[in-house]
C-alpha cells in the first residue's frame, strides 16, 4: 500500500509540474532560432496554408504570433537577471545576426606635426613623476595662508611647526618645546631630562605698557619722546653704524676675492670704509649715502681686472 502511494505521489507531482508548464509550453515541429541580443526569433516551420484560409486570417496570425512570442519570452527568461534600482532587468547577450554598419570603421588619424617630429628625432614620451613634497614650498604655503587669514581677520588655530627636512639644533629644540607644551596643562607638569635647559625666547614677543598704571612714568616717557623729536639731532649711534658698515664691506670683499680666485688685490675697496665714516657725520643721510657708494666701488674693482 505504501509503495503504491509513493508512486501515486510521484505521478501526481509530475502531473502538477506538467500542468504548471502547460500554460507556457508550445509544440512546434522545428525549434525556433533566437537572437536574444536583438530580441529576434526566427520561425522556420511550414505554415499550413489550408488552415490559414479556413480560419479567419487575423485569428490565425494572432495565434501564430502568440506561440512564437511565448517561445521567445521563454528563451529570454532563461538569461540571468539582476536588480537595478528596484527594477528587475535581464542581461542580454551580444547580438548574433550580422548587420551592416552605418559608416566604415574609423581610420587611424594622421600623426600630428609634433608626433612626426618626435618620431624623427627619436623622442619618447616620458611620464611625468608625481609631485614631490618640498618643505620650503610647504612652509611658503603655510605663511601665505596665514597672511591671508590675518588680512581677512580670520582666526587661525596655532598648529605648531612645519616639518623641515634638515633640522638644525635650534629647530629641534624648538620642536621639542612645542611638543612639550601641547598638553592639556600647557606643559606645566612635563618632566625635563637631567641636562635639559629651560626654553628661551618664550613669552610675549612684544611688550605693551598697561593702559592705566604708572601715570608719572607715562608722562615722563611722552615728554622724552617730544624732546627727541624736537632736538633735530641725528638719532644715530655713529660708532655702531661705522662698525656695521665696515663689517659688511669686509664680507663683500672676501666674497668677491673668493669668486675671482684672488688674481689681483682689490685696491678699489679699501679706502671706501673710512670715506664712509667721514660722510656719516653728516645729516643722518650719510649712512644712506655711504651705503650707496659702497657697492659701486666694489663693482668697479671687480669690473676692471680684465683691463689690468
Amino acid at each position: 500500500m505504501a509503495a503504491c502511494s509513493i508512486e501515486d505521489l510521484l505521478a501526481k507531482a509530475e502531473q502538477d509540474e506538467a500542468e504548471k508548464l502547460k500554460s507556457i509550453t508550445v509544440q512546434k515541429e522545428l525549434d525556433l532560432e533566437f537572437d536574444i541580443g536583438n530580441l529576434v526569433a526566427y520561425d522556420k516551420n511550414r505554415i499550413d496554408i489550408r488552415q490559414f484560409r479556413e480560419q479567419k486570417k487575423e485569428d490565425f496570425l494572432r495565434s501564430l504570433a502568440r506561440d512564437n512570442t511565448q517561445l521567445l519570452v521563454n528563451e529570454i527568461w532563461k538569461h540571468p537577471t539582476e536588480r537595478v534600482e528596484e527594477v528587475i532587468v535581464v542581461k542580454l547577450p551580444e547580438p548574433t545576426t550580422p548587420l551592416p554598419r552605418e559608416k566604415p570603421p574609423p581610420k587611424p588619424r594622421p600623426p600630428t606635426k609634433w608626433e612626426e617630429f618626435a618620431k624623427l628625432k627619436g623622442i619618447q614620451k616620458k611620464k611625468k613623476t608625481n609631485l614631490v613634497w618640498d618643505d620650503k614650498v610647504a612652509k611658503n604655503e603655510l605663511h601665505r595662508l596665514r597672511n591671508i587669514a590675518r588680512a581677512q581677520k580670520i582666526k587661525v588655530p596655532g598648529v605648531g611647526l612645519t616639518p623641515i627636512a634638515q633640522q638644525s639644533k635650534s629647530d629641534l629644540a624648538r620642536a621639542v618645546n612645542v611638543a612639550k607644551s601641547s598638553t592639556a596643562s600647557a606643559g606645566k607638569f612635563q618632566d625635563r631630562l637631567p641636562k635639559e635647559k629651560a626654553p628661551r625666547n618664550t613669552g610675549k614677543k612684544r611688550k605693551f605698557q598697561p593702559v592705566i598704571g604708572n601715570f608719572s612714568n607715562e608722562k615722563q616717557r611722552q615728554l622724552d619722546l617730544l624732546k627727541v623729536m624736537d632736538s633735530k639731532k641725528p638719532r644715530l649711534d655713529v660708532n655702531k653704524a661705522v662698525n656695521k658698515q665696515m663689517r659688511e664691506v669686509d664680507r663683500e670683499e672676501a666674497a668677491a676675492k673668493f669668486k675671482k680666485g684672488g688674481k689681483k688685490g682689490r685696491k678699489g675697496g679699501n679706502f671706501s670704509g673710512k670715506g664712509k665714516g667721514g660722510g656719516g657725520k653728516g645729516k643722518g643721510k650719510g649712512r644712506a649715502g655711504g651705503k650707496g657708494q659702497g657697492p659701486p666701488s666694489g663693482k668697479k674693482g671687480a669690473g676692471k681686472p680684465g683691463k689690468r
Binding site: 507556457i24 530580441l39 526569433a41 522556420k44 504570433a65 512564437n68 548587420l99 554598419r101 559608416k103
Partner: protein, 308 residues
C-alpha cells in the same frame, strides 16, 4: 586637435562634439530613419508613413514636403538628405497607377545606397483605426519572422535583415523584464508578407516565466514584394566589416575541450628534482640501529684491507 577632413572645420567645442558624434566610430549610434513622400501620395501612404514614424519616434525624421525623385533610378537626393540628417535608413512612400501604395525600405552605407526593397501595401489598418491603449514610445520591440520564405529565398533573406535593422532600436546590454511589451510579427506566406504589431501582456503562469497574451495595437500591413535593389556581394561584405578593436580579446592560456571543461595553462620555471620537497614517510627513513652498526664495521674492514 581640430583637424577635420571635409569642408567644415569646427570653431567651437560644441561644433566639434557635434561632428565627432557623426564621425565614424567603433560602436555606432542608433540608425536614424528618414521618412519621405514621393511626387504623388495617397491617403493610405501618408497615413502609413505617419504610423511608422510613430513606431520609430525618437530616431526618425518625417519630411512633410513631397520630393519628386525616383529612388530606383536616381539616389543622389536620398544620399544628400542622409548626409544632412545623419540617417542611414530611409522609407520612401509614393503612389501611382502602375505601383499603387508603394513603400520603399532602404539602407545606406557611408551615405551611399546599400539595399532598397519595394513593398506594395495591399491592406492597411492604421494605429488610429485600432482602438486600444498603445505601447509607450521608444520601447524596444521583439521581432518574430515566420515562414519558410525568410530562410529559402534570397530576396526574403535580405528583407529579413533590412526589417531587423529597421525596427530593432538601440542595442542595449540589458532590458527591463516588465518593459517587453511590443511585438512585431512578420509572416511570409504565398508571396505576401503580413506585418502585425501586438502588445504583449505578461500573465501569471505557475512558474517564473509568464504566459503571453497578445492584443493587437499598432499598424497592420499586408505587403507584396515588388522590385528590389540589393547590394553587390563585395559591397555587402565591406559594410559588414567590423574593426579589429571590437573583436573580443582572447584570453591567453585558457582553452576549452569538447566537453566544455575549462583548461588553464601555468608556466613554471625548471625545477631541480633532487631538491623536490615530497611527503615524509617516517617508515621509509633510514634507521639508526644494529643494521647501521654492521654497515659501519664492514666499511672499516674494507678500509683496513686497503691500507694493507
Amino acid at each position: 586637435m581640430k583637424q577635420k577632413e571635409g569642408v567644415i572645420k569646427p570653431k567651437t567645442k560644441r561644433a566639434k562634439r557635434f561632428l565627432d558624434n557623426r564621425a565614424p566610430k567603433l560602436t555606432e549610434n542608433v540608425k536614424n530613419v528618414m521618412i519621405m513622400k514621393g511626387g504623388n501620395t495617397s491617403m493610405t501612404v501618408t497615413q502609413a508613413l505617419k504610423d511608422i514614424y510613430a513606431l520609430k519616434k525618437p530616431s526618425a525624421v518625417l519630411y512633410k514636403k513631397k520630393n519628386i525623385t525616383r529612388p530606383f533610378e536616381d539616389s543622389s537626393s536620398l544620399e544628400f538628405f542622409s548626409k544632412k540628417t545623419d540617417s542611414s535608413l530611409f522609407l520612401f512612400g509614393s503612389h501611382n497607377k502602375k505601383r499603387p501604395n508603394n513603400l520603399i525600405f532602404g539602407r545606406l552605407f557611408d551615405f551611399h545606397v546599400l539595399d532598397m526593397i519595394e513593398l506594395g501595401i495591399e491592406k492597411y489598418n492604421s494605429l488610429s483605426a485600432i482602438k486600444n491603449s498603445k505601447c509607450p514610445e521608444g520601447t524596444k520591440p521583439m521581432l518574430v519572422f515566420a515562414g519558410e520564405a525568410f530562410d529559402h529565398d534570397d530576396d526574403h533573406k535580405r528583407l529579413k535583415s533590412l526589417l531587423t535593422d529597421f525596427f530593432r532600436g538601440p542595442v542595449v546590454p540589458s532590458v527591463r523584464l516588465a518593459g517587453l511589451e511590443h511585438v512585431l510579427h512578420f509572416t511570409a506566406l504565398e508571396g505576401k508578407i503580413y506585418m502585425r504589431s501586438y502588445r504583449s501582456l505578461l500573465k501569471k503562469s505557475g512558474c517564473r516565466t509568464p504566459r503571453i497574451e497578445l492584443e493587437e495595437i499598432g499598424p497592420s500591413f499586408d505587403f507584396v514584394l515588388r522590385r528590389t535593389h540589393l547590394a553587390s556581394d563585395d559591397l555587402y561584405k565591406t559594410a559588414h566589416r567590423q574593426p579589429k578593436a571590437l573583436k573580443p580579446k582572447k584570453k591567453k592560456n585558457i582553452s576549452h575541450d569538447t566537453f566544455g571543461t575549462k583548461f588553464g595553462r601555468l608556466h613554471m620555471q625548471k625545477q631541480d628534482l633532487a631538491k623536490l620537497q615530497t611527503r615524509k614517510m617516517k617508515g621509509l627513513r633510514k634507521r639508526r640501529g644494529p643494521a647501521a652498526a654492521a654497515e659501519g664495521e664492514t666499511s672499516l674492514k674494507t678500509a683496513k684491507v686497503e691500507v694493507e
